[in-house]
Amino acid sequence: MNSIKKLPLGTFFIKVILTLLVASIIMVLLGTSPIEVIRSIFDGAFGRPEKIVKTMLIFLPISLASLALIITFSGGLWNIGIEGQIVLGAIGATWVAKSFFGETLVSPIIQVIVGMSFGALWGLLCGYLKVKFNVHEIFGGLGLDFVATGAIIYLILGPWSRSGIASTSGTDIFPKESWFPTISSLNIPALSIIIVSIIILILILFLSYSRFGLMLRATGINPSSTNKYKFNSNHYIYLAFILGGAIAGLAGVFQASVFYHKLVPSISGGYGFLGILVVLASNRRILPTLLLTFFFSAMIAGGSQLQLRLDLHSSLISILLSSMVFFWLIFNSSKVNDLLHRIIKRN
C-alpha cells in the first residue's frame, strides 16, 4: 500500500551489511574495536531490566516524532517545524502540570489533550502560512522552531522559573500525580506504551484503509491533480499538519512528563530532526521506521556506556548514527541500487 517500491530482500541485507561495515571502519579509524563498542552499546541498552526501560523511554518520543513525519511526508510536506511542535507539546504538558489539574489523577490525560492541541496548532500555523501566504513549510517551520525555542527559555527563566532561582536546568519537578502512571518497581511506562501502540495502529489504518489517508497521499504526490478528483488539496495540507503536529506534541508531553518530569530548554532532544533521518532512511514506511527508531534508541541509550567503559566520548554515538544514515542513503540511492541489482543478477 506504500508508494515506494519494495526492494528485493537480498539487496536490502547487502545494504545493511555495507552500512555496518562503514560504521566499523569509522570505529577502527577512531582507534577502537567495533566489537567492543557494539558489546558495550548492547549492554548499555539491554544489559539490565532498568536499562531496557530507559531505552523504551527514548524510543517512545522518537517513534512519535517519526510517525508525525510519516504523516506530513505523505502529504508531500517537509515538516521541519516538528521540533517546535514537540516543544509546544511539552509547554502544554507543563502548563497543565503547573495548574490545579497538576495534582489530580486526571493530569496525564489532560496533558495529552492539551499537549496534542498545542502541537497541532503549531503545525496548523505552519500549514496556514503555506496555504494562505505561500510561505514554504521549510521556512515557516524553521521560523516557528526558533519562536518555540525562544518561548521555552522565556518560560523556564521567567514565569515558570524554579522557586528562588531561575536556572536553565529547568523548572521545578512536576507533582507526582502529573507523572505518567508506570507499573512495577522498574517504572515501566505502561500508559505511554499503550498510547503509542494505539497511535501506530490508527496510523496504519489511516494510511492504508481510509480514503482520507489516500487523499492525503494523493495530495503529496501531485496537488495539481486533486481538483480533478473534486477534493481540495489545501484541506489535506491542513489535515497533515494538524495530525503531525498533534503527534509531535505528544512526543513533547512524553519528554516533559515521562522522561524529565520537568520542562528543560532542550526538551525536544533533537528528536524531530533525528526523526527526519529515520523516516527518510526507511522510505516513509511505518514498520521499518519503527525498527530503525528502535535501533537508534538502543544506540543512544547504550552510547552513554561508551564513556564509562571504553573511555570514548559519548558524542561518538551521534557521529556513528549520522554517518550510518548518510551511507545508508547513499547505498539506497537509485544508482547504487541499480548496481547492486546488476551484481546480483550476474551471480
Binding site: S3, I4, R211, F212, L214, S225, K228, Y229
Partner: protein
C-alpha cells in the same frame, strides 16, 4: 557522416526495451524511427544520447566507437537531440540560452556580437524570433526552432528529433522540415522519431520500424502506407480505421453553452453531441475546456429553462495526464479508490475486483497494482477514461489523444464513443483537423483566444477549418 548502431540490448527489470537492435544510418538520407507507443524508440534515442547505458551493444560514429552512457561523449561526438518537450531555460532570453554551456563566445559577454551572430543564423534558416525575447514568451513551435538552431550552433552533426512536432503549427512544421532537408543536403545525419506517418512520408527517405523492442525492418520511402502500418502493429489496421461513424439520433433535449464571454450569446446543441473544439497549439481551445470545468463557462441542460447539470456530473481529463490528471506514485487500484464513492473506509478487495474488471474493459496494459507512471501514455489516457463513473455525465476532454499512436488513438476513441450516447454531451479539444472532423458532431473553432466559428458539422466544410483556426479569411 555515418552512425552504426550494433546489437543494442537494454532491459529494465523484466521489460526488454531494446532487443538486439542494429541499424546503420548514412548522411544524405533522412531516417525515420517508427513504432507504436512502447516499441522502444525512446529508449534507443536515450541510448544514443547517452542518457541510458545499454546492457550490451555498441555505437560507432564514423568508425569511432562512442563511449556509451555518457551524455558528454555523445555531445562531443556531434549528437544533438531535439526532444518532445523543449529542454530550455524558460527564464532566459534566446541569446542567453545560446551562451549557457557554450564555449564559442569565450569568457566575455559581448551581447551585441552574440545578437548579430544569432540574427545571421536565424535569417539563414528563416526563423523570425527576436534574440532578446524571453524564451517563456515563445510558442512551443518557436522554442523547438530555436533549440534546433542551438544544436547546429553547437556543432551537432547527427540530429535526432524525438516527436518534435507535437506543438507545431502547420507553418512551423513546414519551416522546420525545410531546414532539415537543407541540412540533410549539407551532409548531416537526421533521424526523426515519430508515429505520424504523414510527417515521415513528407520528410524521410527511409524508415526503420521497431516493434516490442526489436527491429522489424528498414524500408525505403516512399513505401506502401498500409504495409508500414501493418509492420508497426502486425495486425490488420483496416479494422481500426473503418469504424462506422454513427450519427446520434436527434433528441429533443438541448444543452446550452454560454459563450457570452466571446459575445456569442448562448449556443444550443442537441444532447449527446460530441463537440470538437479545435485550434492551433497555444490557442484558447484547451483553456475553453478548463473553463467549462471550473464553471467560468456555463453549461446547462434544456432549452431556455436551464436546469443545471450537477457539478459532480462534469468529468474532466487534462492533456498532461501525469501532471494534472493522475498521481504518478499511486496504483490503478488506488486511483479507483479515490474516485469511487464517499466511503470513509476503503474495502480493498472490492476495489481490486472493480479495478480488474475496468482494466479488462478498457484494455489497459497494466495490473491493478501498477503505478500510473509505469503505464504508457495511451494506457494512462484509458485509465483517465476508466475512472469516469458510468452514470450519464458531461465529458470535458482536453486533447484526449495527444501524443498517442494510431492504435491507441482509435481505442481511446472507441471508449469515448461507447459511452457518448448515454452522456449529456462531450466537449473535446484537439489541434488536429482530421480528428475534429472525424469525431465530432459540432465544431467550435478557436483562432488565438477568439472563437471564429460555432457550427454543426453539416454547416461547414472541412477545408474551411484551417482558415478558421489560423484566423485567415478565405
Amino acid at each position: 557522416m555515418k552512425i552504426e548502431i550494433n546489437n543494442i540490448f537494454k532491459a529494465f527489470d523484466e521489460v526488454i526495451a531494446n532487443d538486439d537492435v542494429s541499424l546503420e544510418i548514412n548522411s544524405g538520407k533522412i531516417h525515420a524511427l517508427l513504432g507504436e507507443n512502447g516499441a522502444g524508440k525512446s529508449t534507443l534515442v536515450k541510448i544514443i544520447s547517452g542518457h541510458q547505458k545499454p546492457d550490451s551493444g555498441n555505437i560507432i560514429i564514423d568508425g569511432k566507437k562512442l563511449r556509451l552512457g555518457s551524455t558528454k561523449s555523445s555531445i562531443e561526438n556531434g549528437i544533438g537531440i531535439l526532444s518532445q518537450d523543449p529542454l530550455d531555460f524558460q527564464n532566459l532570453t534566446v541569446s542567453e540560452s545560446f551562451l549557457v554551456g557554450s564555449k564559442k563566445f569565450g569568457p566575455s559577454l559581448n551581447k551585441r556580437k552574440i545578437a548579430n551572430e544569432l540574427n545571421k543564423i536565424f535569417a539563414e534558416y528563416e526563423i523570425k524570433v527576436n534574440p532578446q525575447i524571453r524564451i517563456k514568451s515563445l510558442s512551443i513551435g518557436e522554442r523547438q526552432q530555436v533549440e534546433l538552431v542551438r544544436l547546429l550552433f553547437e556543432n551537432s552533426k547527427i540530429i535526432i528529433l524525438d516527436e518534435p512536432t507535437n506543438g507545431f503549427s502547420l507553418n512551423q512544421r513546414n519551416l522546420v522540415f525545410k531546414v532539415l532537408k537543407k541540412l540533410n543536403k549539407k551532409g548531416y545525419v537526421i533521424i526523426l522519431v515519430s508515429h505520424k506517418l504523414d510527417e515521415v512520408f513528407d520528410l524521410c527517405n527511409e524508415a526503420t520500424i521497431l516493434k516490442n523492442g526489436t527491429k522489424v525492418k528498414t524500408v525505403p520511402i516512399p513505401f506502401d502506407r498500409k504495409k508500414i502500418i501493418k509492420l508497426m502493429f502486425q495486425e490488420d489496421i483496416s479494422k481500426i480505421q473503418n469504424h462506422s461513424r454513427k450519427t446520434i439520433p436527434p433528441k429533443n433535449q438541448f444543452i446550452s453553452i454560454d459563450l457570452s464571454k466571446w459575445k456569442l450569446g448562448t449556443t444550443e446543441i442537441p444532447q449527446g453531441s460530441k463537440v470538437g473544439v479545435i485550434g492551433l497549439q497555444g490557442s484558447g481551445c484547451n483553456q475553453f475546456i478548463r473553463d467549462c470545468f471550473n464553471k467560468t463557462v456555463n453549461i446547462s441542460l434544456g432549452n431556455g429553462n436551464n436546469s443545471i447539470i450537477p457539478p459532480e456530473d462534469f468529468h474532466y481529463t487534462p492533456s498532461d495526464r501525469l501532471e494534472r490528471g493522475l498521481f504518478e506514485d499511486l496504483t490503478i487500484k488506488e486511483h479507483l479508490a479515490l474516485t469511487y464513492g464517499d466511503v470513509k473506509v476503503i474495502k480493498w478487495s472490492n476495489i481490486e475486483k472493480r479495478a480488474n474488471s475496468l482494466i479488462k474493459e478498457f484494455e489497459i496494459k497494466g495490473e491493478s497494482n501498477s503505478y500510473a507512471k509505469q503505464l504508457s501514455g495511451g494506457n494512462q489516457q484509458k485509465l483517465q477514461l476508466a475512472l469516469i463513473p458510468k452514470t450519464p455525465g458531461f465529458l470535458l476532454l482536453e486533447q484526449p489523444t495527444r501524443g498517442l499512436d494510431v492504435k491507441s488513438t482509435s481505442s481511446v476513441w472507441e471508449k469515448i464513443i461507447e459511452r457518448s450516447s448515454r452522456d449529456f454531451g462531450i466537449l473535446f479539444s484537439t489541434t488536429d483537423i482530421d480528428e475534429a472532423w472525424e469525431r465530432s458532431d459540432w465544431i467550435i473553432c478557436f483562432s488565438g483566444e477568439k472563437i471564429t466559428s460555432v457550427s454543426n458539422k453539416s454547416m461547414i466544410k472541412k477545408d474551411q477549418i484551417k482558415f478558421l483556426i489560423s484566423g485567415v479569411k478565405d
